[in-house]
Amino acid sequence: MALSLISRLEDVDAFMDRVRMQIERCTPDDPELGAGLAGGDLTGTQSAIDKAAVAVEELDYHLRDLARAKARA
């Protein structure tokens, strides 16, 4: 369970990076995209995803602790 949570987070990170690279690569030929006419400000979306990522990581640590405690008992 814990492993799959982290791997899904990594998927999210990979796709965010992919979108970022695409936008960066297209900006010289496409000034409208560079000016943010497509989606406006992305900071809100980014902070929402970051908060979710932190919460999921914390949940993952908690689940690992739980598994360790169970193994000890």
């Binding site: 369970m1 799959s4 949570l5 899904r8 987070l9 998927d11 999210v12 796709f15 965010m16 992919r18 979108v19 695409q22 936008i23 690569r25 297209c26 030929d29 496409d30 000034p31 409208e32 995209l33 006419l37 497509a38 989606g39 406006g40 992305l42 809100g44 979306t45 929402a48 995803i49 908060k51 979710a52 919460a55 999921v56 914390e58 949940l59 908690h62 689940l63 739980l66 169970k70």
Partner: protein, 140 residues
Amino acid sequence: MATDTVEKVSKTGKAVKGANFKNKRERKAYRKTLRQVIANKVANKALDKEDKKEQFQKIKLVKLRRRKIARDWQRLVEVLQALASEVNRVPDRIRGSDPRYTGLATALCNDAVKAAAEKADQYAAFSRKDVRIYKPAGKG
């Protein structure tokens, strides 16, 4: 007046300039220069056509790229949804998991999915709009 002109013409033995066609040799020489001008105009037209072709190719590329970005956004949303559903199932799957952690993670994941889906929709709409090409900053 009329008598004056008649006298002039009779003196040189030729018509006044502009009252008759030029002779064949002169006309041929003039036509040669005209031919050059027309060749230049045709070349310019060809260049314009080439420019237009390049511009349309550029527009096509930009459209394709925008659609690719919209697709990537959609995939990001799908991955986020997978993460959210996985987090939603944690309390059912793992006995003894702290509801504080699971509740917070669930709420934040759902928020993230909502925010990303909104942006993905905006990008999809943007990728279907007309493309406007601006001149590069360096060229006039």
